[in-house]
């Protein structure tokens, strides 16, 4: 129970001014610019866009600045901003097979067509602090150039397995139905895969990472391989009513992960590999891997597997993955609960008195 309390206006106003001063920091230090955040802290921007569920680099950079680098606060700012805008419609599904590849690896096939493209990865770095970065440098690093660019269209690794019938077919259901939209409909159960993929796509990376990890450690049936991970730019197509044909709005950067998991078969389905899918805005590879693990775990019922662990429980996962909702409910504990607490205090005092009286009697006997 919350009680309307008057007062504190001046304290709040002053607190906001103090926040503004601390956000700016030492005025002798140059103020950070949005292009610097976008260019040099780009992965923070990517994460804020992904979990904020809104692709707009500059806006996400501004949110990071306003939130003083607090990623979840920045995500909250983006979610709040999107509610102020009208919805023009939905895009055509992006075609990640036509991605302009900047990174593409497979842990299942060494010699895949198109090759293993490492791209701008932290993998194989030694994770030693690089003190050369401590001071700005005049020499901009330059990446080497190959003679021949990577192929425009690279076949999906999974097509190799699909063509042999060894992988569940990933075809649209009959009539290719309009997907569930969490921004317009309340959560409903049992949740379809469209609903859970949307939920996971904007879900908290830390939560999904821990859940994905739990499936690997035995809290879920999952023995996956990273069939393919890719990152790069895809065109977004949209059909404006006034034109009647699809036009390109521009390109967005996305990361995608396809996990393949062995499946021993059921009465209906032969033994084959099944898939878990991860997709995120920007370069959020760890997020897409975690998402793919959890996506596959949530498909347990579909494959007749026992639902025994948290990562397989769709109500548990979908209701707790959203960090804006989660922080809202946790943070509400900061609101005044003075009357609630007074009531509990009275109760505990009375119980305590009863308890002490009982002990005194016991001692006397």
């Amino acid at each position: 129970m919350y009680v309307a309390v008057k007062g504190g206006e001046t304290a709040i106003e002053n607190a906001h001014q103090l926040l503004a001063e601390e956000r700016r920091g030492d005025p002798d230090v140059a103020e950070i610019e949005l292009t610097q955040i976008d260019e040099q802290l780009g992965l923070a921007v990517d994460r804020v866009m992904t979990e904020g569920s809104l692709y707009d680099r500059r806006l996400a950079a501004l949110a990071v600045k306003q939130a003083r680098g607090d990623v979840i606060e920045a995500v909250f700012l983006l979610r709040a901003y999107r509610t102020t805008l009208p919805r023009f419609g939905a895009s055509e599904p992006i075609d990640t097979a036509r991605m302009e590849i900047r990174r593409r690896i497979s842990a299942t096939f060494k010699d895949l067509p198109g090759g293993q493209i490492l791209g701008p990865t932290f993998d194989y770095t030694h994770r030693l602090i690089d003190f050369d970065l401590a001071e700005p440098s005049d020499d901009a690093p330059e990446a080497p150039l190959a003679e021949t660019p990577v192929n425009d269209a690279m076949p999906r690794v999974n097509e190799l397995l699909e063509s042999e019938g060894l992988l569940e077919r990933a075809a649209p259901p009959e009539d290719d139905p309009e997907p569930f939209d969490l921004t317009r409909e309340p959560m409903s159960f049992p949740a379809g895969r469209d609903q859970h993929l949307q939920n996971l796509a904007r879900g908290d990376e830390g939560f999904l990472l821990a859940l994905g990890y739990s499936t690997q450690r035995g809290f879920g049936r999952n023995h996956p391989f990273a069939g393919e991970i890719r990152m790069g730019e895809v065109a977004v197509e949209f059909v404006p009513e006034e034109l009647g044909f699809a036009v390109e709005l521009g390109d967005i950067t996305v990361s995608e992960c396809q996990m393949v998991t062995q499946f021993t078969g059921s009465k209906e389905a032969p033994p084959q590999f099944t898939q878990g899918y991860g997709l995120a805005f920007g370069f959020c590879e760890r997020k897409t891997m975690a998402m793919a693990l959890v996506d596959r775990a949530l498909r347990a019922e579909e494959f007749g597997e026992a639902v025994e662990y948290p990562a397989q429980d769709s109500e548990f996962v979908l209701y707790h993955s959203d960090n804006v909702e989660a922080q809202g409910f946790v943070s509400h504990l900061k609101l005044p609960h003075y009357v609630d607490f007074q009531a509990e205090l009275t109760l505990v005092r009375r119980l305590r008195a009863d308890y002490e009286q009982a002990h005194r009697q016991e001692a006397a006997e």
Binding site: P86, S91, I94, R102, A146, T183, F238, E242, E248, G250
Partner: protein, 157 residues
């Protein structure tokens, strides 16, 4: 609707330039617009406004559709004196970008302007975009792994 042919070939041509205009940076559009003489007077049919488009994906890349997340998009519609109507839908929040893209979309449907704008704006911009893309793809290609097999113990005869 004036100027909106349903012919597939002209739709394909228009789709191409709309895609180029959406990706061309604002400075380039402004510079190109400033060189038009006389500056075409255009009527605003729909003022530039920013909104959202829900980006969709498919499960496993090719399966069931799902909503992946939204993006900001700005749209605008104009009419030029010759009667041609131009539309723009551009990623991001730049109202001016959408307005200029809509003006160019209208002008490109106008036989008096089409060739000039194609030569001075669309073709060079498409080339610059392709070059930037190629540079990016050459950098990516330099990170391609060349596997080699270690010979272990056997007689390499």
């Amino acid at each position: 609707m004036l100027g909106n042919s349903s012919d597939d070939a002209s739709n394909a041509a228009r789709k191409r330039w709309i895609g180029v205009l959406a990706r061309t940076d604002l400075d380039t559009l402004e510079d190109s617009y400033a060189t038009l003489s006389p500056l075409p007077k255009h009527a605003i049919l729909r003022k530039s406004e920013t909104g959202l488009v829900m980006v969709r994906g498919r499960a496993n890349g090719t399966g069931q559709k799902f909503n992946a997340g939204e993006m900001t998009v700005t749209r605008c519609s104009v009419r030029i004196p010759s009667g041609m109507v131009g539309h723009a839908y551009v990623a991001g929040r730049s109202r001016r970008h959408a307005e200029l893209a809509a003006i160019f979309d209208a002008l490109l449907q106008d036989p008096d302007h089409a060739a000039g704008i194609e030569d001075n704006l669309i073709a060079p911009s498409a080339l610059a975009l392709a070059e930037a893309r190629q540079l990016k793809q050459r950098k990516a290609a330099a990170t391609k792994v060349d596997f080699f097999t270690m010979v272990r113990g056997e007689d390499p005869a």
